[in-house]
């Protein structure tokens, strides 16, 4: 049996409004990367297709490259362009 990873995925601001939710649990095959997660989300169809193909992403509170491997239990946030200050 193949392993899998359970990812807590967070959405904020415009992404949260777009999707109508701030949080989803996403199940991916072991070895999945950040960009695999984004592809899996976009393939859900509907509003998810409006997500950018390569958004900024933070894994466990740190900005992370799209090629990074995900581990079971990771918290991944899709970060819309920031506008603090």
């Amino acid at each position: 049996m193949y392993g899998h990873v359970e990812i807590r995925t967070l959405f904020f601001a415009s992404y949260k409004e777009l999707l109508g939710t701030g949080e989803l649990q996403v199940d991916l095959p072991e070895g999945a990367t950040v960009s695999d997660l984004v592809s899996a989300l976009r393939s859900r169809g509907g509003a998810f297709t409006v997500l950018p193909a390569a958004p900024a992403v933070a894994v466990n509170l740190t900005y992370t490259d799209p090629t990074s491997l995900l581990s079971d239990g990771d918290e991944v946030a899709l970060i819309p362009p920031v506008a603090g200050g």
Binding site: F12, E30, S71, P81, V82, A83, G84, G85
Partner: protein, 159 residues
């Protein structure tokens, strides 16, 4: 001591100034970011700031530490407010003190510019005609350096 905070209540600039300052410092500098009544030609009635609070606290802490290290002072304080703000209210306060003014100006500028580049905070403007729009921001970049090491980088243990 450096200081950082993400807060929901109004910021008291005078209080932020009390977080810095030392006998060897000849310069104390306070920067305030304030909600203005217009943007891109539209009349703004107020703004809503949203955040990824846990990460924002961590990123703001890193920014403050970087500024302090570069300026050679540990008297750097930064506070960002979240939630609904009216025109004229303070959204961010940055206070720095150092022996001479140049380091204080540099550190203050660094903190506000880095906040705009990478603090996970988002701003929705409410216009006087009732419309609301998320302000087009900047896309933060992952550090160029090697990706963060994966804990237990070797093979996962099956199952």
């Amino acid at each position: 001591m450096t200081f950082f905070a993400i807060v929901r209540e109004p910021i008291d600039p005078a209080h932020v100034l009390t977080l810095i300052g030392a006998d060897q410092d000849g310069a104390s500098l306070l920067f305030l970011g304030v909600v203005r009544d217009h943007n891109d030609g539209r009349s703004v009635g107020g703004v809503l700031y949203d955040t990824y609070e846990e990460m924002a606290a961590q990123v703001l802490s890193e920014i403050v530490e970087e500024a302090a290290r570069a300026a050679g002072t540990d008297r750097v304080a930064a506070v960002h407010r979240i939630g609904e703000l009216e025109v004229g209210e303070v959204s961010v306060a940055i206070a720095v003190s150092s022996p001479h003014r140049a380091e204080a100006y540099d550190a203050s500028r660094y903190v506000i510019e880095e906040i705009k580049k990478r603090l996970p905070v988002w701003k929705k403007e409410r216009y006087s005609d009732g419309a609301e729009v998320w302000v087009e921001g900047r896309t933060p970049k992952a550090p160029d350096a090697a990706p963060a090491p994966q804990p237990g980088a070797s093979q996962a243990d099956g199952s």
